[in-house]
């Protein structure tokens, strides 16, 4: 379970998040929706420790991790796939994976999830397509064997057949039963359908939340239409 309690955060003097409360239920899934610039990425950066809070707390399975460095949070079981298909461009696909775990059987396991990576192992990640890089980014994070995965717009700007593949991986993870997912998504339909809980974020404030699932989609769509 991941909890944000009264989190206010921002960059320098400008605040971006205001008193945000959010709960991702243990072994469940939550999604955050909001327009461009609402503060979704900022919220995730606070959750993974890249951005300090101005006030408030971050709890992982009840443990206060507010002042823990990102790499320590990874050791605590947090996995993060940032927005923008980020890779280490001058390292090969294989080296990107080996960075997280050099164990070949573990690498084979995550490559089985994204078979397209198999033929790209010796290519510098900077030369992969956006979709390939996103598959690499997800595979690399899963290689760390997280208990909880945080994904920031994993299908943004990616062609439909790869989107379907990535969405299937996310669905599989949520159905595993021992895995927690926090998803930021523009595709309201997909996000709300797979979520136990959804949140809407507007200008840094939580403006709506509720139980997810197929039945909630229309209501969320309506609440977000401007």
């Amino acid at each position: 379970m991941l909890e944000l309690v009264g989190v206010t955060a921002g960059y320098g003097r400008s605040k971006v998040l205001f008193d945000v409360d959010l709960i991702v239920p243990k072994d469940g899934a939550a999604s955050i929706m909001g327009l461009n610039g609402a503060g979704k990425t900022t919220l995730l950066r606070v959750a993974v420790g890249l951005l300090p809070v101005i006030s408030g707390k971050v709890l992982l399975d009840g443990v206060d991790i507010t002042s823990m460095r990102p790499n320590r949070r990874v050791q605590q079981g947090l996995g993060y796939v940032p927005q923008g298909q980020l890779c280490f461009p001058q390292m090969t696909t294989l080296e990107n994976l080996q960075l997280v775990s050099p164990v070949q059987s573990d690498i084979d396991e995550v490559v089985d999830i994204f078979p397209a990576l198999r033929d790209l192992m010796s290519r510098p990640a900077g030369l992969l397509s956006g979709g390939q890089r996103q598959q690499l980014a997800i595979a690399r994070t899963l290689l760390g064997k997280p208990r909880m995965l945080i994904l920031d717009e994993p299908t943004e700007g990616i062609q439909p057949n790869v989107v379907a593949e990535i969405e299937q991986v996310i669905v599989d993870l949520t159905e595993r039963g021992d895995f927690t997912v926090l998803l930021v998504e523009q595709h309201v339909g997909f996000a709300v359908r797979i979520s136990d809980r959804y949140y809407t974020l507007e200008s840094g404030r939580i403006t709506g939340s509720g139980a997810g699932g197929e039945d909630a989609i229309d209501a969320v769509r309506a609440s977000m239409a401007v």
Binding site: R69, N71, Q75, F88, E95, L99, V100, P102, L128
Partner: protein
């Protein structure tokens, strides 16, 4: 023939020393945005380690070989101390680190003067190094060849470390995207410390080579630090291949210019040459092209 061979070989040996000094600079600048002017003093420390080892172990041949790893560790540890006490507060503020480390350099020089005296000490050459080999009629001192071999070996080890070990992958990941590295579980603070250790240690090894050529001296670092910086800038920050070529180029160019003019004139002209080159290629000799540098 001699007019070409001599400066070429001597310049290559100088380039080898510049390389040992520049590797640490380029690693720490590329990874942490730190300009460490005290790196020259790690050369000096390495030279004194060679001298001191010789005081303890009288066989010059044995002591030189033993001095190499000791110099690496001692200079490396000093680098760690410098990082922990001064530099860690100034990451990504190159100008601040430059000023602070100039101060540290002066302190270290004064310390060396207090301990060893302002005059340098000679380091005895082992018999097998105190020889010359004939290259196209030039009697080339073997210690210069030894210096080159030492630099090549260090470079090969560094390259293997960066390419094939998990520590090397962590360094490269941290250089390419620090925040992403951190969120993929890389303890970037520790990686920074280790890089500092490594870079300072390499300068220490370079110092052993210098001691064979010109003995020890409390201020020997000052004559190497500026050309080493030229090498870093010319080679492209963080680029191993570029740094090697730049070191060689600056070493050989200085040797030829010294031959034709005078020592100080040669330094000035090398400097001008580098500035001219950078006007044409501001990114250094090499650039890395990828689809996305995110």
């Amino acid at each position: 023939m001699d007019a070409l061979t001599t400066p070429f070989l001597t310049g290559t040996a100088t380039g080898a020393i510049l390389l040992m000094a520049a590797l640490g600079l380029t690693l720490t600048f590329g990874q942490m945005g730190v300009i460490n002017m005290a790196n020259g003093e790690f050369l000096m420390v390495g030279a004194y380690v060679a001298y001191l080892t010789q005081q303890v172990i009288s066989s010059a041949g044995v002591s030189i070989i033993i001095a190499i790893p000791i110099a690496f560790v001692v200079a490396g540890l000093l680098g760690l101390v410098l990082e922990a006490t001064v530099i860690r507060w100034m990451y990504d503020r190159p100008l601040d680190t430059l000023l602070a480390t100039v101060g540290v350099a002066l302190v270290l020089q004064q310390l060396a003067k207090d301990i060893f005296g302002a005059q340098g000490d000679p380091v005895v050459l082992p018999g097998w190094l105190d020889a010359r080999i004939n290259v196209f009629g030039y009697e080339w001192p073997l210690r210069q060849l030894f210096t080159i071999l030492l630099a090549v070996a260090s470079l090969a080890l560094l390259n293997a470390l960066l390419r094939y070990t998990s520590f090397g992958r962590r360094i490269r990941a941290t250089v390419q995207n620090r925040q992403l590295a951190e969120t993929q579980g890389v303890p970037t603070r520790n990686v920074d410390r280790m890089t500092f250790f490594l870079g300072s240690g390499l300068a220490g090894v370079g110092g052993v080579a210098i001691s064979l050529i010109s003995g020890t001296n409390p201020t020997l670092g000052t004559s190497y630090i500026i050309p080493a910086f030229l090498v870093v800038v010319l080679g492209g920050v963080g680029q191993l291949k570029g740094t090697v070529l730049a070191a060689w180029g600056v070493g050989v160019a200085t040797a030829f210019l010294t031959d034709w003019t005078s020592g100080s004139m040669a330094q000035v002209m090398t400097f001008a040459l580098v500035v001219a080159m950078l006007t044409l290629r501001p990114q250094g000799l090499f650039t890395v092209r990828t689809r996305s540098l995110a």
